[in-house]
């Protein structure tokens, strides 16, 4: 279940990156990002709390979720860095 949290959060941060002009270029996309992208990103990030809470209970679940957000954001940042420096 935590794996699902990690997956959703990573997808959320990737969407967030795609909604930002600069990072769209890192990922090789041209043009302006669709306006709906940012709310979708935050929705995905928000939704990722549920698997963690379902698996570990409210208190521990939310704590794990917070940590997962940090780690997933770092993973996305690392991926963007690798993409932009190898292109």
């Amino acid at each position: 279940m935590i794996a699902l949290t990690l997956l959703l959060a990573t997808a959320g941060f990737l969407t967030l990156a795609l909604s930002m002009q600069r990072h769209r270029r890192d990922l090789g996309r041209q043009g302006k990002p669709p306006r709906a992208m940012r709310p979708v990103a935050f929705l995905l990030i928000g939704l990722s709390v549920f698997p963690a809470v379902a698996d570990q209970g409210l208190a521990i679940g939310i704590t794990s979720w917070g940590m997962a957000l940090s780690v997933c954001a770092m993973a996305v940042a690392a991926w963007l860095t690798v993409r932009s420096s190898w292109r």
Binding site: M20, Q56, A59, I60, S70, M74, A77, S84, S85
Partner: protein, 476 residues
């Protein structure tokens, strides 16, 4: 005024960061490693019985042993491990022949034989480095100050770094100083909540020791009186009349039912006496709060006397803070998240320290700051790698073996410092990284199978790759 405020915060961030940066790096790196202290400590004693054993089984083994060795002692203490098949049995007082003595040893929870594991202190020296820099009470105060500086650095860092959300993911690589600053920002911003929580909860482990004002006002500085106001497992004097101790197993079942979780430790005060008391402590690995619930039983009758599972809200809050710091609550997933966040902390501090030397150009590269950076940032990983390698390379029957492991840890760190003071070039950075990778490689090859060995192998690969990239970078 506003520009002035910004400038003074930059100044504060910079200087407090430099002065405490090395201590903070040591704290962060060792803290990151000891997220897995239970697993690593088991890895460092491969002779331990691998399969964990039910608490019931360990308790039967322990009671049988203790009834024979010290039936009327002052106390017994029984700690069944949750990580291997051993049970730690300690007692003090009269032995079976009536001589006053004591014992503290690890037994196989199934066979009851003494476990002959190699002498090793496990992650103890790393934990000691983490919370007091291996230098006793003075070190604890330095670490506490460093914790305060960490919080300060985070607050001033947020103030200094104005475009905190616009640069959310930004890492411009290969641009010298700009890259180091980006890395510093990214490590700080993306893990900001973790950094706050870990620094603040670290201070919350010994709060009344570090901020004695309230304790002084409320209890005249008497810490025991303060603690006994909210945590006082039942105690009573020995009666002097003998009475046989009831079997512990039914009491264990009652305690598990009352406390609702795995029992972590069992103690018997004056066994064999009519006033004997058996106390069970619940483990805290499945909850945030580190407050250990207890249940106390009358020894001869096996009747429950009292138990505690609730605490006043402030105490419960501080228990949760301690739990958040120790990261035992959420199983392996949570610990991996802590590990990676801890690596980000370490990187945050390391890049901050490096910004000092990078900013001031290559001519200051021979300075003391640069040497200390090299010895700390690259030297400590190598020393820790040497510690793990020594665990597998030293002869198993060496006298003072555990002490020698620790000596190797500090000797190799001292060697790194000496080298850094004499030759501080990019090649030295690469050399230490590759040295660490080599030593971890030895630990991997001799480490048997299992997740810890695999993690050591991955760390070796990561450090080795970094070292090779540094060599390539230095040539280019």
């Amino acid at each position: 005024m506003k520009a002035n405020f910004h400038l003074s915060m930059i100044w504060l961030h910079r200087w407090s960061g430099l002065i405490f940066g090395w201590a903070l790096y040591v704290i962060a790196l060792t803290g990151t490693v000891v997220v897995f202290s239970d697993e690593i400590s088991v890895w460092m004693q491969p002779e331990l019985p691998a399969n964990t054993v039910a608490v019931e089984q360990a308790l039967i083994t322990a009671q049988t042993h203790l009834q024979r060795a010290a039936p009327v002692a002052e106390f017994w203490s029984i700690t069944p491990s949750a990580h291997h098949g051993g049970v730690t049995i300690a007692w003090a007082g009269a032995d079976s022949a009536g001589n006053d003595r004591g014992d503290n040893a690890l037994f196989d929870a199934v066979t009851g034989a003494v476990v002959a594991a190699r002498d090793s202190h496990g992650t103890e020296p790393l934990v000691d480095l983490h919370f007091r820099l291996h230098s006793g009470p003075v070190g604890m105060w330095i670490v506490a100050s460093a914790g305060m500086v960490m919080l300060l650095g985070l607050v001033t860092g947020v103030i200094v770094h104005r475009r905190i959300f616009r640069d959310f993911f930004m890492f411009r690589i290969g641009k010298g100083q700009r890259s180091w600053l980006d890395a510093h920002n990214i490590a700080g911003v993306l893990t900001l909540p973790f950094q706050f929580v870990i620094a603040f909860t670290g201070l919350m482990i010994f709060p009344v020791l570090l901020m004695p004002g309230a304790l002084q006002a409320g209890y005249g500085g008497d810490r025991a009186a303060y603690v006994s106001d909210w945590y006082l497992p039942t105690q009573r004097e020995a009666s002097g009349m003998s009475a046989p101790l009831a079997p512990l197993l039914p009491m264990l079942a009652a305690a598990e039912h009352q406390l609702g979780g795995r029992i972590e430790q069992i103690a018997v005060a004056h066994p064999g006496d009519a006033a004997a008391i058996v106390t069970f402590w619940r483990g805290t690995d499945d909850r945030l709060s580190m407050m250990a619930d207890w249940a106390a039983f009358d020894g001869p009758s096996g009747r429950m006397l009292a138990s505690q599972t609730r605490y006043p809200p402030g105490i419960e809050t501080s228990g949760v803070m301690v739990g958040l710091h120790f990261a035992k609550f959420g199983g392996a997933w949570t610990r991996w998240l802590y590990f990676f966040s801890g690596l980000a902390s370490t990187a945050l501090i390391a890049t901050g320290l490096l910004l000092w030397t990078v900013k001031r150009g290559p001519e200051s590269g021979k300075g003391l700051v640069a040497a200390l950076n090299l010895a700390t940032i690259a030297g400590l990983p190598m020393a820790i790698a040497a510690y793990f390698a020594a665990n597998r390379l030293l002869p198993v029957d060496l006298t003072e073996r555990g002490e020698w492991e620790i000596r190797i840890l500090f000797l190799s760190w001292a060697a790194c410092l000496g080298w850094a003071l004499m030759h501080n070039r990019w090649a030295s950075w690469a050399g230490m990284m590759l040295g660490a990778a080599f030593l971890l490689g030895i630990a991997t090859i001799l480490g048997g199978t299992g997740p810890v060995t695999l993690s050591l192998a991955l760390s070796a690969v990561a450090l080795g790759t970094t070292g090779l990239l540094l060599i390539r970078g230095a040539r280019a």
